[in-house]
């Protein structure tokens, strides 16, 4: 059983990987954080961003211990599906969100398919 790591009490961050418009909304809400070393907790993914860069960012976010939740847009998640499938730690929680340009498609969500599978299977 995976032992949940200790969650720090002074607040952890949310990380966002999505397209520009989606991120802007979250930044407006105040999710964004740029630390002293100019490290951001979000990555703007556009058509020019390579899957490799997304992968690197995702791995960095999962390895950082001050991030509790990673929000990733479905479109972006589709590009690095295998890594998301491989990620099975409870913290940080990886959450797929719809992006602005394409409406939410529940069948694409790897977690939801798993949930539905279990729910339907049982």
């Amino acid at each position: 059983m995976a032992q949940p790591s200790v969650v720090s009490q002074d607040g952890m961050l949310l990380a966002v990987l999505a397209d520009e418009d989606t991120i802007t909304g979250f930044l407006l809400a105040g999710v964004g954080n740029v630390d002293l070393r100019k490290k951001k907790n979000y990555l703007v993914v556009d058509s020019k961003t390579s899957p490799r860069a997304i992968e690197a960012a995702f791995k960095e976010f999962t390895s950082r211990d001050d991030i509790a939740v990673i929000l990733i847009s479905q479109q972006v998640a589709g590009q690095i599906r295998h890594i998301i499938e491989a990620h099975n730690k409870p913290i940080p929680a990886v959450l797929e969100i719809p992006s602005k340009d394409c409406p939410y498609d529940p069948s694409q969500d790897s977690l939801l398919t798993r949930v539905k599978h279990i729910a339907g299977f049982n």
Binding site: P4, G11, L13, L14, A29, V69, A93, Y104, V115
Partner: protein, 264 residues
């Protein structure tokens, strides 16, 4: 068969007692684990429903947030996103962590909170569109709240899933491996002991037979002597001996023999 699915033990009565105690323990543990698994499954089921609900809900909430952003963009102009991007400093929306306990499984629990105080974003869109920006901000804050809730459910789901798997594995192991093994061992020991007992019985019988034979021989001898004596004197009366195939009298049964090394 019994040689594979049993513990390698010496079939003695002490071991049998031990095995029996272990079986009782295993049964109890199985019941407890079963209970835990049921509790977890119940919670898990509930969770599944909540996750599905929340995920479907997420679509509409996010849609609302995106639309609020569109409204803001409509009112404040396209450039507003660069302003927002450039004004990012430290996060004001953070996640507080906590641990929740479900049937002994520790589940991390998140809760989003907004740091109090003025933000730099407050004056964004002062010239135009500020109101829409604020309403967009609120929409996104509620979206973040929902997302964190969902993250909660998801983490709980993953942890519980893991815990449930482990518990179920244990239950199944107890039920299908440990308990049969113990039972097999017990029945093996019992069988062995029975075997031993039967051997003993046979041996005893043999001994008794020999004893009786000898007694009969002795008696015959004595009778001869007595006959000889009766013939000589006729004072000794003995019952007639039934012969060699006749059972010994009931009083001579093994059951009435109290022997120390026999258990029953």
């Amino acid at each position: 068969m019994s040689t594979q699915n049993r513990l390698p033990v010496v079939p003695t009565v002490t071991v049998l007692t031990m095995m029996k105690a272990r079986l009782v323990g295993a049964t109890k543990g199985h019941a407890l684990l079963k209970k835990k698994a049921d509790a977890l499954t119940m919670r898990f089921r509930q969770l599944l429903k909540e996750i599905i609900d929340a995920k479907e809900n997420l679509g509409s909430t996010m849609k609302g947030s995106f639309f609020a952003y569109t409204e803001a963009q409509y009112a404040a102009g396209d450039n507003i996103k660069h302003t927002i991007m450039d004004n990012v400093d430290t996060a004001v929306v953070k996640v507080r962590g906590d641990l929740d306990n479900v049937a002994g499984v520790k589940i991390p629990k998140f809760e989003s909170f907004v740091l109090p105080g003025e933000t730099k974003m407050d004056l964004t869109g002062l010239g135009r569109g500020g109101q829409q920006l604020q309403s967009c901000r609120k929409a996104y804050l509620s979206a973040v709240e929902l997302l964190v809730q969902l993250a909660n459910l998801q983490t709980a789901f993953l942890t519980l899933d893991e815990a449930l798997k482990v518990t179920n594995r244990r239950v199944n192991a107890l039920e299908n491996v440990v308990k049969p093994k113990l039972e097999n061992t017990i029945s093996y020991i019992k069988a062995e002991l029975d075997e031993l007992e039967r051997e003993e019985f046979f041996r005893l019988k043999k001994v008794q037979k020999n004893k009786q034979k000898r007694t009969a021989a002795d008696m015959a001898q004595a009778a001869q002597i007595a006959e000889a004596a009766a013939a000589n004197g006729g004072d000794l009366q003995l019952p007639p001996f039934p012969g060699p195939g006749v059972q010994p009298p009931a009083s001579s049964s093994l059951l009435y023999n109290k022997e120390d090394d026999l258990l029953f």
